[in-house]
């Protein structure tokens, strides 16, 4: 059957539009699927937008790598060397079993203790030699009362969210958070004084995980 020339033009136009439409639909579906499956794999929760500092660009983010790195970070932060000074209550913890600090020193307003029980009354600038002696650092303290930065009892999801929230992390920007890996009090965890176990990995390994977690978007693991 012969087609009317006009009809032929209309048909080919119709075909072109349909092809274009299906292509658009295909691409949209594909992108959506990839995006949601990525979220499903990592369980990543986007961090809140953070204040100043070189926050990771959207394109550089990798939620899978970020969440995986946080797994390591979490192990270190929940080890006694870190968690003992981030207690849920107002008394620091002590020892590898994280018992309440004997003598029950209190946090105080600034985190440096109260009255005759200030941290630096016993904790010197350096470790005191011998077993069961006070470990040292020039700025030995707990987080202050108005921002307790609790680690004890936090799930990975809760801790990750808390760490990137300036209202809960000591008002730290992304840049400051990255730098915090080399804070002398953080480093003290790897020089804990005699008879105390070290965190479960080297400081270098921890710092790498910390940086990877943050630079890939500081995603929180699934709740």
């Amino acid at each position: 059957m012969k087609q009317h020339p006009d009809n032929g033009t209309r048909t080919s136009l119709f075909m072109k539009i349909m092809t274009l439409l299906s292509a658009v639909i295909f691409i949209t579906t594909a992108v959506t699927t990839v995006y949601s499956s990525e979220n499903a794999i990592s369980g990543g929760t986007e961090p809140q937008l953070l204040d100043s500092g070189p926050g990771p660009e959207k394109a550089d983010r990798d939620s899978v790598a970020s969440v995986e790195a946080f797994g390591k970070v979490y192990k270190v932060l929940m080890s006694p060397r870190c968690m003992n000074c981030h207690p849920a209550g107002d008394v620091p913890l002590q020892g590898d079993d994280s018992h309440l600090h004997t003598m029950l020193p209190k946090r105080g307003v600034d985190g440096k203790g109260v009255y005759a029980m200030k941290c630096s009354n016993c904790h010197q600038a350096t470790n005191t030699p011998g077993l069961h002696t006070p470990p040292g650092n020039p700025k030995w303290h707990l987080p202050p009362a108005d921002m307790k930065m609790v680690f004890e009892g936090r799930t990975p999801h809760q801790l990750a969210k808390q760490l990137v929230d300036p209202k809960q992390n000591g008002r730290k920007s992304m840049k400051k958070l990255l730098e915090h890996a080399d804070d002398t009090l953080v480093l003290a965890g790897w020089n804990p004084g005699e008879g105390r176990t070290l965190p479960p990995m080297s400081h270098a390994e921890f710092k790498e995980a910390w940086t990877t977690w943050i630079k890939n978007g500081a995603y929180a693991p699934k709740p």
Binding site: M103, K106, V114, Y115, A116, M117, P134
Partner: protein, 156 residues
Amino acid sequence: MIKLTINQKKHQVDVDPDTPLLWVLRDTLGLVGTKYGCGVAQCGACVVHLNGEAVRSCVTKVSRAAGQKVVTIEGLAARADHPLQKAWLELDVAQCGYCQSGQIMSAAVLLKENKNPTDADIDAAMAGNICRCGTYLRIRDAIRLAAEMQRNPSKG
């Protein structure tokens, strides 16, 4: 030579800078009111004031005190008449007495920073001072009495 100011008197001592302040006080300078209990910051017998803070002299290197102001029980009050000392006598706090100079030096920081401490404040301040004779209740009463004397000197 390390320069120290102890009880407002200047001293020069020829000791290793890592020597515990307690050793210098007791052995080098003969100020034996400050006691040695545990040597590892766990009992409070060795408390002295370093720039007004109740440091444990057994773990404080003498180098930390260099050029700073140290006060021991001997220098707490010129005539041993600090309200705490008076209250201690009045209530007969001491039993063997070994822990008491540390107790008083810790309590003195509490009363300097809090003129009217509650029992909870007293417990928080004194939790690190151990008394093997168990005089805790009298210590608490004496701190309350001393606080009152401090607020109304006529009562002393």
